[in-house]
């Protein structure tokens, strides 16, 4: 069983960070994982994407071309990658930033106003982790257990206060009905 996750959005939205968290989480659950960023002239405001592969066997190509799960945190990303998602796959879109719905009828589509929810919760930089919470709820590849241990691997020790905020963001997303 292999799950290919593609996380996409603007630079500065924490695309790479949320991918790193998912990769660590899956690795600590005993899965084989890979994490591959888009790299280059991207910067805050530019496009960013991140391929995460979770598998029970060795990961072949680390490049996600046919995602089982697509996270889209802006419209250009949804426009570009919607058609690539495998039939029966999952699309999670930030509906605060993407007005249109998901056109595909053969996927499980979730629209979650993550950016607005993050603002309401006073954690404006953590819309990415709210979406991660929704992903954990909808995707079997990543479990809800031992979140704090995995967060401790990716949140710098200098910013310990961010552990609880990240955890809260994940829970807010996990509990979102819609």
């Amino acid at each position: 069983m292999t799950t290919q996750i593609l996380i996409t959005g603007f630079g500065g939205q924490g695309i790479l960070f949320s991918g790193k968290f998912l990769a660590y989480k899956a690795m600590m659950e005993g899965s084989q994982v890979s994490w591959l960023p888009s790299y280059g002239p991207e910067m805050r405001g530019g496009t960013a994407s991140c391929s995460v592969i979770v598998s029970d066997s060795a990961v072949g190509s680390p490049i996600v071309t046919r995602p089982d799960v697509l996270i889209a945190m802006n419209l250009p990303s949804l426009d570009r990658y919607e058609s690539a998602v495998v039939p029966g796959g999952i699309i999670i879109a930030d509906s605060t930033l993407i007005e249109r719905g998901v056109n595909r009828a053969d996927v499980r589509a979730f629209r979650i106003p993550a950016t607005q929810m993050a603002a309401d919760e006073g954690i404006t930089t953590l819309a990415n982790m709210i979406i991660v919470g929704k992903l954990i709820r909808e995707c079997d590849a990543i479990s809800y257990d031992n979140l704090d241990e995995a967060l401790a691997k990716v949140v710098s020790a200098r910013h310990k206060e961010m552990l609880d905020l990240n955890r809260r963001a994940i829970d807010v997303g996990y509990q979102y009905e819609g």
Binding site: K20, A23, Y24, M27, Q32, V33, S34, W35, L36, P37, Y39, G40, P41, V59, G60, S61, P62, I63, T65, K153
Partner: protein, 354 residues
């Protein structure tokens, strides 16, 4: 046992070098290998090592020559255009018979090219890394764990044969993160009676030099060096074989191209096509015997490369052109998809039936 951590390939190279005893790193930043230098900048001062950002790639490789002359483990890293600048130094390292480790995290070319992954420095690494007759040991990792393992092995081979070892990776291997366990290797002592360590007035001076104005002398050094290269070719060629035992079709690919090809091979196997993969781990020496062995039963070969077709020449030479070899390639920073490789496998399968 050391903890399993997620690490970028570039960081794994840097930490592995430190574990292998390297305390002298000289570099100059260039995408997509800058994390090697960044990691060294952070770690070296804490362990009594030297990190030095040189004023240029040329300066960095010449600093490596200086430290290597003293018998200490030294390294530099760069990406394609920067490696071209280092080529003069690579020739001098060979002429002086000095061990060193050089990392090339390749990007698309020629010229300044781009910053996306490539394998188009294969010729440069295996053939022409500078003027004169010489070779480097060229190692091609295909995972983050192997980035670390081959870095350690590269230092050992360099010391053992008094040669430069090159890690030939690409932007994907450098930038991706995978689980890795890093442990210090068992220390092996390599005697270096040639090293410039000071005589204490007790022995004649050692001289590290690549200038021989008497042609008979210069010829002698060349023949002696190639004697050593023959030993390396006999002992150190390495490849991974995957599902090749019964294969009618053999894909040959290294690094990221091998990872992509594995996906395609598994998909082709599900369709009943008998196809396997040979993944060269050493590009020089090239694993000729493994290719020639596969040619005894495989009817067709496919070379998958992120270049216009460079390794394909070695695949043909390894089996004296006994089987047809087709090329699946992308260039300029593009990567072949598993579907493109699968299509070539299916075409080759069709050719078998015809």
């Amino acid at each position: 046992m050391a903890e399993k951590v997620l690490m970028k390939g570039n960081e794994a190279i840097a930490e592995a070098a430190i574990l292998a005893g390297c305390r002298h790193y000289f570099g100059y930043p260039i995408t997509p290998q800058t994390e090697v230098a960044a990691y060294m900048a952070k770690r070296m001062p804490k362990i009594g090592g030297t990190f030095l950002q040189a004023e240029s790639e040329l300066a960095a490789i010449n600093m490596v020559i200086g430290v290597a002359s003293t018998g200490k483990r030294a390294m530099t890293s760069s990406s394609s255009p920067g490696i071209s600048l280092k080529c003069e130094g690579l020739s001098y390292l060979a002429g002086c018979d000095l061990p060193a480790l050089v990392v090339n995290v390749e990007r698309g070319g020629p010229g300044l090219g781009g910053i996306q992954p490539s394998q188009s420095d294969y010729f440069q690494a295996t053939r022409g890394s500078g003027h004169g007759d010489f070779h480097m040991i060229v190692l091609a990792p295909a995972s983050v764990q192997e980035m670390a393992a081959l870095t350690m092995k590269g230092f050992d081979l360099a010391d053992k044969y008094r040669m430069t070892s090159m890690i030939l990776a690409d932007g994907t291997m450098g930038q991706m993160m995978e689980p890795v366990v890093l442990e210090a290797p068992e220390p092996v002592v390599y005697e270096k009676p040639w090293a410039l360590t000071g005589t204490d007035g007790k022995r004649p001076h050692n001289i590290v030099n690549s200038l021989y104005l008497v042609p008979e002398d210069l010829e002698r050094t060349n023949f002696a060096r190639y004697e050593r290269y023959r030993t390396v070719e006999e002992n150190e060629a390495a490849a991974e074989s995957f599902m090749t035992e019964d294969a009618d079709i053999v894909v040959v690919a290294f690094g990221i191209a091998a990872r992509v090809s594995k996906n395609a091979i598994l998909a082709a196997r599900e369709k009943g096509i008998r196809v396997g993969l040979i993944r060269p781990i050493t590009l020089w020496p090239f694993p000729k015997a493994v290719i020639a062995g596969a040619a005894s039963h495989a009817k067709r070969f496919i070379s998958v490369e992120l270049s216009m077709g460079q390794m394909i020449e070695d695949v043909r030479l390894a089996m004296d052109c006994a089987r047809p070899v087709t090329l699946v390639n992308r260039a300029g920073g593009m990567i072949p998809s598993p579907d493109e490789v699968l299509a070539a496998i299916e075409t080759a399968q069709g050719g078998l039936k015809a």
